[in-house]
Amino acid sequence: MNAAMMLAPRTGGLAALALVVSLAPLTFPNAYFYDVAVNALFNAVVCVGLNLLVGYGGQISLGHAGFFALGAYGSAILTGTYGVPPVAALAASAAAVGALAFVVGRPILRLKGHYLAMATLGIGIIIHIVLKTESQVTGGPDGIGVDAFTVLGLAVAGDKAWYWVGAGLLVFAVWISLNLIDSPMGRALRAVHGSEVGAEVVGVDTGRYKVLVFTLSAVFASVVGSLFAHKNGFITPDIGSFFRSIELVTMVVLGGMASTFGAVVGAVILTLLPQLLASFEDYEAMVLGGIMMGTMIFMPKGLLPSLRAALKRRRAAA
């Protein structure tokens, strides 16, 4: 399989992704690695959703970890306290998060630039604080235990099983994302990024698409949050912290804004990074900050699009 084919979306891209996630376990040095890999897959799914908003739609969100956390806590509480079956809890949480995103999205996405950054950041922080404070329901800063994920009596147990759930979900998410951006809706969304007024005068209700994609990306985050809660068996409010929101945006930006596969690559790199830096734990924050600055200064389009541009240039030169 050559690189150009892999970089071309939908033709080879999806198949290549499926192949990579199927074969990746062969390279895992030990069972512990599955745990890291599942986190990478989960982050990748959130980032594929977030990239629709940030990369394609051009709207920043500094609060997406909040939606992730709401999904996680929704599942934890519904299954733990109320005995709702996990699949129903996941769906109910996703619906609630979607509804919340839809309602707050209207006024928020009228804002632009720094004001939008401020508003999304505020929503994320408020969610984080509520989760920390309402300890009667959420267990407070100490966190809350979560039951295993069962479907029709069958439990998803062990990191290997979760790996395949994550892999399947990622392939599905990427497929959805590729479909969407190549549809009239998706083109309208990208047009919003290109020129809002240019899109409006040919009939694109820019507000509607911004809210739709904000909601969609929040639902992505919520679903993954629910699964993460079950997989981990224990969650704390810090899964919804400001820092986590930033980390998610950084993954998208690093891999490549407006590139679905880029979002996946960015998520995988930033999830693996702390493992690689394990012996330099103290420097983790500096490295993350450095990556954020360096990417934006030297490679503002992100890894994959820059790579693709370089390939294109090479081919043109040949």
């Binding site: 479909n179 549809s183 009239p184 083109r187 990024h193 020129s195 240019g198 899109a199 694109v204 407006a258």
Partner: protein
Amino acid sequence: MTLLRIESLSKEFGGVHAIEDLSFVINPGTIHSIIGPNGAGKTTLFNLITGVYTPTSGRILLDDHDIAGKRPFELARLGMSRTFQNLQVFFNMTALENVMVGHHLHLDRRFLPSLFRLPAIARRDAEARAHCLELMAFVGIGRYGDADAASMPYGALKRLEIARALAARPRLLLLDEPAAGLNATESREIDEVIKKVAATGVTVVLVEHDMKMVMGISDHILALDYGRKLAEGTPAQVRANQDVVAAYLGAH
């Protein structure tokens, strides 16, 4: 019936009267030009008509219905479409995709079918692709199909905006200086395109500094200066108007 009626329209920007107490009508099926020196308020007028700005006072009626407070995309649904003096191209997309966004209103925009790319979506998209490629050829940029908009020269981008506006199938097409920055040959080609569009029954409102072009193709001309109407009439009438001549001489 008049297509568009402007009644004592005014727009003020912190003390600057960009448009002041302006009234005129545009009849269907005509080429209607708006001329005036730099800063006369032509672009502002376009922005008011297409809902990009809200008037300070006055009324704008489309088919005798007041369109006050309507957003640009709602007006597009009523058959308005336009190009911009300062390019508003989607530079993050290909040329063809730009035009396909123009066709947005005529495509299947349902959410769930889009997510799963149901056959209906794919089929309509393929048809739209072909149609938009035709439009690109029509305005003379057929060879740019899958090129990135960001890599196209200025003249091609001006035409790209026209193709995008046409893809919306407007009844009323507003062109803001479509020939600005083009050479003589290119200007003549744009001239041809406008005539062909008008021949299909589309009403064209044209802002243009190229007087040869304006005098050649317009049915009716409105001259503005400092946001006010200076003169109005056929090209011959406006050309003969002393105020218009004075305004242009004064400005240059």
